[in-house]
């Protein structure tokens, strides 16, 4: 569980380098200025590759915060 969280933080840090590590758990698409469509695609691709999963297109629109992504990964068994 903790490992998943740390790996997800690493993904966020790679895509949003301006975010401090302490800010990442609160990150949402509406609060992070650089979270645009390109960042979103990059973040999802990074997470898919990092966790070896494939996200269903219908799930993607809901994955708009760190916490939601973490819950999604837990649900996927990561």
């Amino acid at each position: 569980m903790n490992d998943t969280r740390q790996r997800l933080i690493r993904c966020f840090r790679a895509v949003f380098p301006s975010l401090a590590e302490s800010e990442i758990p609160q990150a949402t698409a509406s609060t992070v200025e650089s979270w645009d469509s390109v960042a979103s695609v990059t973040l999802l691709a990074t997470i898919e590759e990092e966790f070896g999963i494939e996200m269903a297109p219908e799930d993607m629109p809901d994955l708009i915060s760190f916490e939601k992504m973490l819950s999604y990964l837990h649900a996927k068994g990561s």
């Binding site: 695609v41 691709a45 590759e49 990092e50």
Partner: protein, 579 residues
């Protein structure tokens, strides 16, 4: 490389004042992760450069190409996919595929490749262009089952192959090798239909990373090694010469030693492309001489120089070979079947790349020949490359005659019928000039290296000049051996770069080059952008002789001061200038 690693690499800071490298990526698909991977691979191989990888308007493939003529960049990357030849070949387009439209698709494809070629020609006149031919599988357009090639598929591949053949012949254009890509990225694992439909990016991430790595290698090709030193017994041939005799060693199918023949063939090809090939063998020299005269050798004696056959340590033989070649150990590969010999050489010459000859593994020998292509490969083989080995032999002969008769250089050169020719032609730009500038270490005024773009910019400036010197004497031609680039301002010549091949040392060519600058530009003073490096001792020695003091950065030589260093022993000096 994983995407997260690529993102982390490109986010790392470069040092303050790091030089930039700008690459323009042109493709009709969304460049997304290809752009990220390309930046990361370039950064990996050039950690001291700040990488800027730009892409034009997504979808406007042919529109973006002409725009590149206006931008200042180090390279352009043009990534073509099948949809660029006809939109119906792209997944995002629903144009029909029925046989009635095949001819129309082909007609479009031919027209587009002609337009592409013309656009690439224009771009490559300004900056190096890296072309990626379609990497994805053709969509299932043909009516034939997948196991059978359809005519339309073959025609489309023919069309792109014709385009590639023409494009590869355009100066400044390099094409990513589809065969190498096939080896590294299996065709069936390249296309990502989901990503293509969701984001417009058609590649799976491993394919994007592999492709970006190959592109980065073409943007900044690694400097090829210059020389290969090989062992003989159980390496160049099968068998121990001292035990089996000259006729007992083999390299053919009949004696189950064919892979040694393949190795010889590979070395012969390298030698013909200008790679120096020498021999370091623990053997009786007379027996080796006899063996190298065998008519059926694929790598004949004429391809090999020098041959060090003796019973001393191989590191000593290699030291002598390096001295004869006048190159550093870091530019050389040593191949031997014995791990002990490799270790002995490595201990004395740590910079040399040592490779064990895998004498019992045919597959490994085959792979070694492919590896040698990577180590020594270069974009083109120049006339100077072909002359290299013979001119080193000539230098040995010349040195022997000179030493034997105790002649002074001037007297010796007079009898050698030395001829120099100077060219001040800037257009078309001779690629040999930049090649010499970027690979010469010893007689190099300041060690400054140039990208193709920065070199073109320097040479094309209106007040600049470019001098290329070629030399020959009765021992044969050395080809183009010296380059000086600089500018002229109010009676002064400013030299930004000056290099001379080490093959041309000992002939006072550097004196005559400086004299040429004074005479050609009627200059009172030549200002030299000298910077000491850990390798450019020969430049320092020359300047110390002329200045009669240690040289310093931006030192200058006055006409009066140089007068006593003029050399007049040339049989002939010619000058070429079309401008």
């Amino acid at each position: 490389m994983k995407l997260i690693e690529a993102l982390e690499i490109i986010r790392t800071k470069t040092s303050d004042g790091a030089a930039g490298m700008r690459v323009e990526l042109v493709c009709s698909f969304n460049p997304l992760h290809l752009q990220t991977f390309l930046s990361a691979w370039l950064r990996t191989s050039h950690q001291d450069r700040a990488i800027e990888c730009n892409s034009g308007l997504y979808g406007d493939f042919l529109g973006n190409l002409p725009r590149l003529k206006q931008v200042r960049a180090d390279a352009a990357v043009v990534a073509i996919e099948w949809g660029d030849l006809d939109p119906r070949l792209a997944l995002r387009n629903l144009g029909v595929w029925e046989p009635d439209v095949y001819e129309d698709i082909l007609k479009n494809a031919r027209t587009r490749t002609i337009q592409l070629q013309s656009a690439i020609e224009a771009v490559s006149a300004k900056l190096p262009a890296i072309i990626v031919l379609p990497t994805l599988p053709l969509p299932p357009i043909s009516h034939t089952p997948g196991s059978q090639a359809g005519t339309i598929e073959l025609e489309l591949r023919h069309c792109i192959a014709e385009f590639a053949i023409h494009a590869a012949q355009i100066p400044n254009v390099r094409i990513v090798n589809p065969e190498r890509l096939d080896l590294l990225s299996p065709l069936g694992q390249r296309f990502d239909a989901r990503s293509e439909l969701a984001t417009g990016f058609p590649y799976k991430l491993p394919h994007a990373s592999t492709l970006a790595e190959l592109i980065s290698q073409l943007i900044c090709p690694p400097v090829p090694k210059k020389g290969l030193i090989t062992d003989l017994d159980d390496t160049l041939w099968n068998g121990i010469l001292g035990e089996t005799g000259i006729d007992g060693v083999s390299w053919d199918l009949e004696h189950h030693s064919h892979m040694h023949g393949l190795y010889q063939r590979s070395l012969r090809a390298l030698a013909s492309a200008g790679v120096l090939v020498g021999v370091a063998s623990k053997n009786d020299n007379r027996v080796v001489e006899g063996a190298l005269q065998r008519k059926d050798l694929i790598l004949a004696a004429e391809h090999v120089f020098p041959v060090e056959a003796n019973w001393g340590p191989k590191s000593e033989s290699i030291r002598r070979i390096l001295k004869t070649w006048n190159i550093g150990a870091d530019a050389v590969v040593f191949i031997d079947d014995s791990p002990m010999e490799l270790a002995e050489v490595k201990a004395v010459h740590p910079e040399i790349e040592c490779i064990q000859f895998p004498k019992t593994d045919e597959q490994a020998v085959y792979e070694l020949t492919a590896r040698l292509r990577d180590i020594f490969g270069k974009a083109r083989v120049s006339a100077e490359d072909r002359l290299r080995a013979s001119s080193i032999r000539q230098a040995q002969v010349m040195a022997a005659e000179n030493l034997g008769h105790g002649k002074a250089p001037a007297e010796f050169l007079k009898q050698a019928k030395a001829e120099l020719s100077f060219s001040f032609v800037k257009h078309p730009l001779d690629p040999r000039a930049l090649e010499l500038i970027n690979k010469t270490n010893q007689f190099n005024l300041n060690g400054q290296r140039y990208s193709e773009v920065s070199w073109q910019s320097l040479v094309n400036s209106p007040d600049s000049f470019l001098l290329i010197a070629a030399y020959q004497d009765k021992y044969g031609p050395l080809g183009k051996i010296a380059v000086i680039a600089g500018r002229v301002e109010t009676g002064k010549v400013y030299v930004d770069s000056w290099v001379m091949s080490c093959r041309a040392f000992g002939r006072c060519i550097e004196h005559r080059c400086l004299q040429e600058l004074f005479e050609r530009f009627d200059a009172e003073e030549v200002v030299l952008n000298y910077e000491p490096t850990h390798k450019n001792g020969p430049v320092r020695d020359f300047l110390t002789e002329v200045l009669e003091t240690d040289p310093v950065p931006l030192c200058s030589v006055r006409k009066e001061q140089f007068r006593k260093h003029r050399v007049e022993h040339w049989e002939r000096v010619t000058e070429v200038s079309s401008e």
